[in-house]
Symmetry: C2
């Protein structure tokens, strides 16, 4: 929903005080992100813009914000709305009241299932929200050639999408080997966006590889998981986006890099954050609280959350509470608390009534799960070598370990072994393309029985299942076809908990509160299987993403990400 | 001269080290402007771009920079090349070897004399220089309606100039009353550049006036002369450009505002700096040295000189020594010394040989001085009131004081009075439009005899003269017509020193070294008249600029700038 701009003449007249401002916030203090002090004075707003600060103003409407501190609206510099498991409209309802007035999204989850129609759907959604949803164009659909996705997007497909006002540039360029080695389709995409913003994704890439990747013109990156990695990227000119998702939680590790001197070059993002985490902890507001609790200065924390983000992505019209800029304002209880008491997004007050006025959006991606019906036998392995590659989960990270275990072949199969925490992990192609089924091993779930399965399976979004029992895995996978996608927990043939995600197998049609409740039930059911991981479904989904080291699995087999090759079927 | 870019594939290959780099700087240390540390390693360059840092590289050509520190090329964020008194080609030769690899100029001096042809001439020049000369489009030609200029530029005249690659946006919007009060031609220009960069100029504007000015979308400003003024502008979202010209020297006053936390939002500029100052003290290199000597951290000083400047003006391709960015690099002796030992501009080594290879540029603006022949009688006043407005010079500032003196009327004239330091100041229209002659008084030159005159007379560039003796003033003014413009010092009917500025009465056709020598002679001659001001001709020129408070003079009379009106003819 585009806020209503006022003519320049009206803005200047209201700024000057010779006309009453459309809206005045009275009695608060503005936290100045340039000099770091609290400024007294009213904030005058004309249409979608701030027009006056540090002065006394009269308004056609006035809101008393006495005792509150005003900070610029927060900017999430990289996220996939799909990971919130709700539609863009519900995502807006969920996080805008927390102060997130701009979100720079990459719609590549949906695009992997239904192609450019999914990107257009996000572009369309951006026209109707209270927040300013910026829709980057997905660079890597699929992420690699080692997976079967529902769609494939080349440079030529992106070109017609480039004119939309929500666009900034090209979304995270995950195919870093393709950049470093100059794969022709990769160069085509980079050339198409030459001179525009190209966002990065290069976990654990360093040295000459990193130089080659950055030399391609890639300027922002969110995959650093250690301070050392972040510092190398900063020193080579990348803006580092500190990520705190539901799985990959990098804030604590990167916090030491963020200070008053570096804060102009660091940003915040959530990448993938589910509604349960948002409800329990928060969104960017949580990150700000946590940073300050860890010792970051409020100046550095709030800058990273707004001004520096605006700069990094060339959004010159926001990031400060200052005349001429978008009226994206969060009134908070205290700098340390960061609890939003009032949010203005483009000059509009964020309320349930304002959400209710948004034009609704058409459904998309229904009936997208076209998987073969499976039986317990489909989960048996075929290897005749007891030496086995095992995915080692690192909780709170989307990188994994590449483990090697000896697993005995019994009756022609290497079976799951709860005693050694070795579970079957399986990916079933579900886009109706080839019905691939790939089996492997994973360690780290701590599962004792049953199975869990999901259609959120990055980024190809096939069906991914983990289980101690093949029959339960079959029940879980077949149930996902019936649900049009979702999450399922099964034990002894019985479905313990589930959620339907009928929008492309990725998003619910329910309000975020209902999704949160389903997630609570699913978490409880997963725990009853012995699973110790806090967010089993999100962690599960990333085990399929072959652009994050070290060992992953797709429908084509286990993938050694460091070598960028399939090592077992 | 556009540097030669290499294909993306070549850049990546050289960045990765699998091909030899075009050029490698070996053995130096890079001063990282993000984290503030010195980085070891080679710098690899491919065509016009840096492609690798913090690693060992082999190059087709290698330069040993052992013992030197590498910093990003300096960016002068606001200047008038004309104030260097030389052509763009000579300006390039003069300052690029000092490390200034980007200069954002406003060609409004030339444009005031010959109109848009002058802007096109600068645009054309920018295509042939070693430095990257960015040519802003002049917003206020003439600066006000209280002066007679050689040309007038409206929004419609600017539109066809907007496509040139040297453009960033609209140059300093000096008509701040026009912005604040929404004059229609002003709004037309602001509307034409909506969403683009609009540079500011609003000396001593504060409070609601400043809010109105900034709300118009004006984001950078270089007229702050006190820390208080700079802080208000910073807090209202403006990027503050610290200026150290030859007349207006604001560095010492603003230095306390610049620190590691604010440095991302502050820049450096010279505005108007003559070749004598450049030769004796330096250019941006001088400002950096001076800032560090005053206690500014090297991180803050070098950031303001490059990275922050690039950010403020949206030049995303420069500002750091990092892969993918323009190879604008200065190898200096030490951070404190800032003496350039080697300069690369867009990957090209800056040498006399490289300057000699530049395509020459055609002359422009010849025979532009069309003033009436004057006699001593033309300098008499006509007022019958002994109460007199007097311009009070503040040395080192372009703002003036508005003084009030009682001057006796003798034989129908109020004569100059060296004993009270009250000199005649006269502006003679010289564009062949109306032959206006306006007389007034000025205090502060300390003159005892003779006269000085100039065609550098901001921004209308009529003839301005100051004298103790009317006959000498007539000789000086008439000499300028013969010279096609310039500076003249006269005593007892004899020309003591002069320089011809035949390019529109503003620029010499000689090399900058010759201009510097003329300036030394002129300064000596001015001193022989008793003038105590260090830079009398530059100071003189700004006494005619009616957009800088408080009292100025144009060909139409004395101007009360605070009221924006002519108060005496």
């Amino acid at each position: 929903m585009t806020p209503t701009p006022q003519p320049l003449e009206t803005r200047i007249a209201q700024a000057h005080g010779r006309e009453k401002a459309d809206l005045v916030l009275k009695g608060g203090r503005v936290f100045d992100l340039v000099t770091g002090i609290l400024l007294e004075g009213d904030v005058a707003i004309c249409g979608d813009r701030i027009v006056g600060t540090c002065a006394s103003y009269e308004g056609k409407r006035e809101i008393d914000v006495s005792g509150l501190i005003l900070v610029p609206g927060f900017i999430d510099t990289h996220l996939h709305v799909e990971s919130s498991l709700v539609t863009p409209h519900e995502f807006d309802r969920c996080v805008t009241p927390r102060g997130v007035t701009t979100a720079i999204c990459d719609p590549h989850e949906l695009a992997n299932v239904i192609g450019t129609d999914g990107i257009r759907w996000f572009q369309n959604a951006s026209e109707h929200l209270l927040m300013d949803l910026r829709v980057q164009l997905s660079s890597c659909v699929p992420s690699t050639d080692m997976e079967t996705s529902g769609a494939r997007i080349e440079a030529g497909d992106l070109k017609p999408l480039m004119g939309h006002p929500s666009g900034i540039g090209l979304a995270e360029f995950m195919n870093y080997p393709g950049v470093i080695h100059c794969d022709p389709p990769v160069l085509d995409k980079l050339a198409l966006f030459a001179g525009r913003h190209i966002d990065g994704h290069c976990p654990q890439v360093s040295g000459l590889d990193l130089n080659a990747y950055i030399a391609a013109g890639i300027r922002t990156e969110h995959e650093a998981t250690t301070a050392e990695e972040a510092l190398e990227k900063l020193r080579k000119g990348m803006r580092v986006l500190i990520r705190e998702g539901s799985v990959s939680k990098d804030l604590d590790a990167l916090q030491p890099c963020l200070n008053d001197a570096t804060s102009a070059y660091m940003c915040l993002c959530t990448d993938d954050r589910n509604p349960l985490d948002i409800a329990e902890h928060g969104h960017l507001d949580y990150m700000i609280r946590r940073l300050i609790a860890l010792g970051t200065s409020p100046l550095a924390a709030y800058r990273a959350a707004s001004l520096s983000a605006a700069e990094a992505f060339g959004l010159k019209d926001r990031g400060l509470i200052a005349p001429g800029l978008r009226a994206d304002i969060v009134a908070i209880d205290s700098l340390e608390g960061c609890h939003a008491q009032l949010v203005l997004a483009g000059g509009r007050e964020v309320t349930e009534a304002a959400f209710a006025l948004r034009a609704p959006q058409h459904e998309i991606g229904r009936r997208s799960v076209k998987a073969p019906a499976v039986t317990a036998a489909d989960f048996r392995t075929t290897s005749n070598d007891s030496r086995t590659d095992v995915i080692g989960i690192l909780e709170g990270k989307i990188i994994t370990e590449h483990l090697h275990e000896d697993i005995a072949i019994v009756s022609g199969d290497k079976a799951p072994d709860p005693a050694r925490d070795l579970m079957r992990i399986t990916v079933v192609e579900r886009h109706g393309k080839n019905g691939n089924i790939a089996n492997g091993f994973v360690r780290g779930f701590g599962m004792e029985a049953g199975a869990i399965a999901s259609t959120v399976c990055h980024d190809h979004h096939n069906i991914i299942a983990v289980g101690a029992d093949y029959a339960d895995m079959a029940v879980a996978v077949n149930r996902l076809s019936a649900l049009e996608g979702g999450f399922v927990v099964v034990r002894d043939g019985t479905i313990l908990a589930e959620i339907a995600l009928p929008v492309a197998g990725l998003m619910s049609l329910e309000p975020y509160e209902a999704v949160r409740d389903h997630m609570v039930a699913l978490r409880g059911a997963a725990r009853s299987l012995g699973i110790g991981i806090e967010e089993p479904f999100l962690q599960l989904g990333f085990l399929a993403l072959p652009v994050i080291p070290a060992l992953k699995i797709t429908d084509r087999g286990m993938v050694d990400v460091r070598k960028f090759e399939i090592i077992a079927g």
